[in-house]
């Protein structure tokens, strides 16, 4: 009986062992064994999707792909690790000791040495005929116009798994569309590793990423970048931005900020430079804001161009005294004069005439307090006070553009309302997308809601033309053109107070005023030759405008 029990127990134990072993093969190691078996029978490849190009309005590429390689080593085939490291580290720009230590690690069968290596370097390495060194084709981004429009374009880096991923600008915003979908192929192979033509095959084709056709005109972009760079040097500014938009479509024609970075070597720049100041930076617009408050007041018929106010001296608002920028007072002033002299006292008068509720309503209608929804990553929108938090002094200071923060793009869009006859455009970078089969999808401009009447827009335009023709920067204006514009100089708030020595000088305007082909905002941070917009940003605006008018073949009026 005992022998029977022992025999039975042994059978049970054997059965349990077999059960565990089966569990190990089928469940625990099932996936890896399946892959091993698959590797014996099949050739498997990933078909990488090509990232889409980004082209300027003339179809020339701003960003495209170029062949590159992943360079890797297989330590088990390397005969002399030290000699190997010595030969490859130079061309790949690697540290020799690091390469030796990585290749000498136990159990390493595959060691990636460098990614996105260009074909010239790979050709050089191939000549060495080193055993254990191999190359895997991939692609990398190439920028024919170098760092042009870097802030708008963004760059391509790697995600946590080492796959390409777009960051910032268009590369970040449209990453999914640009990236496409990788394909996969599985083919039965023979004993030599060659595919069996009549064997089984599973193929999922790669879907290449969509290409983006932009509104950006590369000639205007070049003009903006070149002139901005010269302007920053000439006026000793710390930073500067230019944004140029078509007021009729909302298409961004150029977007430049300095300092900038090279998207090809983004890693060697300060990360703070990656964000686009035109959409991710805020500032107080200063006197450029006056044209919007005036347009609102004209639209509400709170004032007319001929309305007269008496500018006899500073105006008292609560505990605060508000002066003009140069502490000069001109007596009886029409609204035309208020804009031409950029009178803070005059604008307090206009703000009061407009009234608190309507003032706040128009600020929101012009698009402040919410993002413009431009197709760029990292757009911010400085918050506005809640409606019940606006005091008398807030209304007064906001009427001349202080105590309110905006982004350069919000300001450009708001002034577009005056340029295009009264409606709010939606800023767009991308004009069309093109899929891998060449199918073009045009993105039609959206016409936003009407903010002011055509008549109010035209009167404000005349005020801005008058301000340019009689302002301090009139000497810089291109002769024979009607250009509408307004200077702005805003102090920079530092620790809750305004620093009198630090200003943001700006100029916003459009040309030709009667049928504008562009709206442009130029801003310079902390110019040192002069703190005033009329002596720094305005001449820079006119130099860019002159080049654009010449490029577009718009002749001056005789």
């Amino acid at each position: 009986m005992a022998r029977v029990l022992i025999g039975f127990s042994l059978i049970i134990v054997a059965f349990i062992v077999i059960l565990f072993r089966l569990f190990y093969w089928q469940v625990y190691a099932g996936e890896s064994l399946r892959l091993q078996a698959s590797a014996q029978y099949y050739l498997e490849f990933t078909l990488p999707a090509a990232r889409g190009d980004i082209t300027a309005s003339d179809g020339n590429p701003l960003v495209m792909n170029t062949p590159a390689y992943l360079v890797y080593a297989q330590p088990k085939f390397i005969k002399d690790t030290v000699q190997f490291a010595k030969l490859v580290s130079g061309p790949l720009g690697l540290d020799e000791k690091t390469v030796i230590s990585e290749l000498s690690e136990e159990g390493r069968i595959w060691e990636p040495l460098a990614r996105k290596i260009d074909t010239e370097t790979v050709d050089l390495l191939r000549l060495l005929k080193l055993e254990g060194l191999d190359f895997e084709p991939e692609s990398k981004r190439y920028y024919p116009e170098a760092s042009m429009a870097a802030h708008a374009l963004g760059f391509v880096g790697s995600d946590q798994n080492g796959n390409d991923k777009g960051y910032f600008g268009l590369e970040g915003y449209y990453d999914r569309e640009l990236r496409g979908t990788d394909g996969h192929i599985q083919i039965e192979k023979d004993v030599r590793g060659a595919p069996i033509v009549i064997g089984g095959e599973k193929r999922t084709g790669a879907e290449n990423g969509r290409s983006l056709g932009l509104w950006i005109d590369r000639t205007i972009q070049r003009i903006a970048e070149k002139r901005l760079s010269e302007g920053i040097a000439k006026y000793g500014a710390k930073e500067g931005s230019v944004v140029i938009m078509d007021p009729k479509t909302g298409g961004i024609l150029a977007m430049a900020s300095i300092p900038s970075y090279d998207p090809l070597r983004y890693g060697s720049y300060d990360k703070a430079l990656y964000k686009n100041p035109v959409v991710a930076g805020s500032y107080e617009p200063g006197s450029t804001f006056k044209v919007l408050v005036m347009a609102a007041a004209l639209n509400e018929r709170a004032v007319q161009a001929t309305t007269v106010m008496d500018e006899t001296g500073p105006v008292q608002v609560g505990d605060y005294t508000i002066k003009t920028w140069n502490d000069e007072y001109h007596g009886a002033q029409t609204m035309m004069d208020v804009i031409a002299h950029s009178s803070n006292v005059g604008m307090v008068f206009v703000g009061k005439k407009l009234g608190r509720e309507k003032f706040i309503k128009y600020i929101r209608s012009f698009g402040f307090g919410k993002p413009t929804d431009v197709d760029l990553e990292d757009e911010i929108s400085p918050e506005l006070r809640r409606d019940n938090e606006w005091g008398e002094i807030d209304l007064a200071t906001a009427s001349f553009g202080q105590g309110i923060a905006v982004t350069p793009l919000q300001m450009t869009r708001a002034v577009s309302v005056i340029a295009n006859g009264g409606w709010l455009p939606e800023p767009r970078m991308v004009r069309k997308t093109i899929d891998a089969k060449g199918k073009v999808i045009e993105i039609k401009p959206k016409q936003g809601k009407r903010i002011i009447s055509r008549q109010a827009a035209e009167i404000t335009t005349e005020m801005m033309i008058h301000a340019v023709d009689n302002g301090e920067a009139k000497w810089a204006k291109p002769k024979g053109y009607r250009i509408a514009g307004k200077t702005g100089t805003a102090q920079i708030p530092v620790s809750g107070h305004y620093d009198n020595t630090k200003t943001i000088a700006s100029f916003v305007g459009f040309a030709p005023a009667d049928d504008p082909s562009f709206v442009m905002l130029v801003s310079l941070r902390e110019p040192s030759t002069s703190q005033w917009g009329s002596e720094t940003a305005a001449p820079l605006f006119f130099s860019i405008a002159r080049d654009i008018l010449l490029y577009k073949g718009i002749a001056p009026q005789p």
Binding site: N60, P144, V197
Partner: protein
């Protein structure tokens, strides 16, 4: 009728065997052509890469950076002052007035 059936009985096995042999020969040839397919795939990859490189060179050669630098080399300068020629109908240039 019986004669026709006898012919079928003799011919069909021969036909079946012949077709089987042909299939084996063709399958053998196709199975062996994997190497050629691989070679064609490699050529396609090389040509695709070459095409990408040439596209990149075209883009580089037609970039504004290259154009401005080349224009500067051959003596072009940026216009310091623009001049516009206005043509009014009463004062057409000679070339416009005389189509011959």
């Amino acid at each position: 009728m019986k004669r026709i059936r006898n012919v079928f009985v003799r011919v069909l096995p021969v036909l079946a065997v012949s077709l089987a042999v042909i299939e084996i020969i063709l399958a053998n040839q196709l199975a062996g052509s994997g190497k050629a397919v691989r070679s064609v795939d490699l050529t396609v990859d090389v040509l695709r890469q070459e095409n990408e490189l040439l596209t990149q060179r075209v883009a580089s050669a037609s970039s504004l950076i290259t154009i401005f630098s080349r224009a500067k080399e051959i003596g072009f300068i940026e216009p310091a002052k623009s001049q516009y020629l206005t043509i009014v109908p009463e004062q057409l240039p000679v070339a416009f007035n005389n189509p011959q």
